[in-house]
């Protein structure tokens, strides 16, 4: 019995940082080397989905991304560059000038260009022309078993004309390949891109499936002078690597409007339920960081309900209405948030029911 107790203790100690490897793997996302090309997505804001002779396929994790392509002599020539999850009005540019010939794409969020790449370094940008002004986005989380009908949610979101959608994780129920495939088929209903982090349900299978498709789980992008910082809390907490990196990212955004997004609410608005971080003290340390770095709005999922609350005076929302089995008796069901952001004004958040 004592041996069993020691084994149990060892096992528990051994998994004290379940998110560590995922945090390390995040740093390797967005890099590929093959077919005479070396591709690096700046700040890991995306994933390289395919790199084969003549074909480069990316997934954008931000409205505007920069990709550095080093072309070896053997890699020079015609390339078909496909960027998934792009803004409909995004353009591929090099040195500020449009690059390549447009090729018909299957949906508005896919950008395809036929490009002639010469040997040497090419710094490409994929993004829209607009960089300032008011911004409307939608936010959602927790699709899970609702995947077969999440097109309803996407269609409802489309009617609100957001620039893009942010998602706080749990795209799938079990992280299975067919679930990811279905999720992307359902995205066809959505005329704008969706930027997300992972949830605990993506961790039912290897996290690499997520990172290989959608990029890092923790990252930050800035659009219209609003910083969007996503953090991987899939294990009901932030790994110290993530916590430190997120703290640094949030600090860089302290002088602009700043949104923080992660799957688990650090502290459940219904405290006694504790559908939150596995350590409340870790959660409170994070909330302290959000407060000191001037975060304007915090968005969470995981709990399949809608809740509006504050922590450390920061407006916070739980929106877990993407279609997963809902919390009963909360009177909300499937829903999403519509968020209007304007320079110098606090975010205005509304909730829209789908059913």
């Amino acid at each position: 019995m004592r041996a069993a107790a020691l084994a149990l203790a060892a096992a528990l100690v051994g998994c004290a940082r379940p998110g560590e490897q995922r945090a390390l793997d995040d740093a390797l996302v967005g890099i590929a080397d093959d077919a005479g090309l070396h591709v690096v997505i700046t700040d890991r804001l995306g994933a390289v989905r395919a790199l084969t002779p003549g074909r480069l396929e990316l997934w954008a994790a931000a409205p505007a991304i920069e990709v550095t392509v080093d072309v070896a002599t053997g890699g020079a020539g015609r390339w078909l560059i496909t960027v998934n999850n792009a803004l409909p009005d995004a353009e591929l540019r090099e040195g500020g000038a449009p690059l390549g010939v447009a090729v018909p794409a299957p949906r508005p969020t896919v950008l395809v260009r036929d490009v002639d790449l010469s040997p040497g370094r090419h710094v490409l940008t994929i993004g829209p022309a607009d960089t300032t002004g008011p911004l409307r986005i939608a936010a959602m989380a927790d699709i899970q078993t609702g995947l077969p009908t999440v097109d309803d949610v996407f269609a409802a979101i489309a009617t609100t004309n957001p620039r893009f959608v942010v998602c706080m994780g749990d795209l799938t129920e079990r992280g299975q390949l067919d679930e990811y495939a279905l999720f992307e088929r359902q995205l066809a209903t959505l005329p704008v891109p969706l930027y997300t982090t992972l949830g605990n349900h993506e961790l039912w299978a290897e996290a690499a499936r997520y990172q290989g498709r959608y990029g890092p789980a923790s990252y930050q992008f800035t659009f219209h002078d609003v910083a969007f910082t996503f953090a991987d809390s899939g294990d009901a907490g932030l790994d110290p690597i993530v916590e430190e990196a997120v703290g640094d990212l949030l600090a860089t955004a302290a002088d602009r409007q700043s949104l923080f997004l992660t799957h688990f609410p650090p502290v459940d608005p219904v405290g006694i339920r504790d559908g939150a971080f596995r350590s409340r003290r870790d959660a409170q340390r994070l909330i302290g960081t959000l407060a000191t770095t001037g975060v304007d709005l915090a968005l969470y999922g995981h709990i399949h309900t809608y809740a509006e609350f504050e922590h450390a005076g920061i407006p916070a929302f739980v929106s877990g209405g993407g279609g997963a089995r809902p919390e009963r008796w909360d009177g909300i069901g499937r829903h999403f948030l519509v968020i209007d952001l304007a320079p110098g004004l606090p975010p205005i958040v509304g909730v829209r029911r789908v059913d």
Binding site: P18, D235, R273, R278, Q284, G288, R328
Partner: protein, 393 residues
Amino acid sequence: MRSLRPCAAAALVAALAAAPLARPATAAPTIVPASPAVPPGASPDATPAAALPDVAPPDASPAALPDATPAAPPAVSPARRAAAIALAAVPGLAVPGLGARVVGERRAARRLLALRALGLGAMVVGGAPLLVTYGSAKLVVPGVHLAVAGSGLFLVGWWADVYAAAGGGGGPPRRRAPLELAADATWLDDAYHGARDLIGVSGRAHRGRWTLGARLASGHAAALVQGRLDAAARVWRPDARATGSAVDVRAAVDAIADRDDHLTTVTGELAARGRLHLAELDRALAGSFVELDAGLGLQVAAYRAGDADLAGVLIGRFAGGVYLPCARGEVLVFYDHRRDTLAGGLPAGRAAGFFGSVGAAAEVAVTPAWTATAALELGSARLVTIGVRRGLR
């Protein structure tokens, strides 16, 4: 400091093994005459500690409890006992009382069946609605309390079957001194800060049904300071010095200031704690106990910037343990559903964010006045605490 007697050595072995002590098949139960000094309302079988004349008398000798049977336990061969332990440990998880039944303790087996059925019922009644409603906020308080308490009865009932199959071996509960002063050292390790340490001092006074306690701990160059005040009233078997079956209602204020995290929390708690010496179920279970906590708390968190937050805390805990021979103390293992403590909750894989911490605690009297204490808690962080306690009259 006195040298250890053989009985004390056995107690230390039991504490280290944290497992039921096998009793020789032919051993007769120790029958101790009832103490005339038992306070009103206490267990009627409180006895003097024959092995430790300087120690306050144990409060509930198992052999003399109301439903204890004076007859010797059935003779069991070593092979049968080994089989009983194995059966209790593995299929016994699903078949309540299997081990006790194999060693001929049929009454204990029936009582354990009832205990575990009660636990399973509470788990289902509390947990099923939470599953069906996907954690409805309206059901959290009764649901989680029932689920935690039910899990405690179910799991401790399982462990008690292994204990009975092994022949028991625990001793009677110990009586605490009226005034206790303690010092301890805690090693705290979490993923974010690494290792930190705390040195703590505490005191506890018992009078009648009342207990008052205070603790102050500080460490890591005073960057981490913890203070706690608690008071308890024993509402069943109202002798606060007893460690046998009882129910306490307790209130506490716990404050932690962590300069590393720029975080200060103050938590008010109101909870009930019940302990059942399983000798009250059957003689074969004498020396083992189950303990349940249920309550609520309210926590204020203050950060370096921004407004302070107020959040609820659900207090739910269960423990199972054994009293050490000769009223030397006790060893227990526990599950604590709270995740707001220094330990936090277990990184439990797919279930992360649902579970609290697990741990073990022991207190062993090394002399009549001095007690060694140790505790281990595993959650997001790992805590190891060792200490000494001095009992004063």
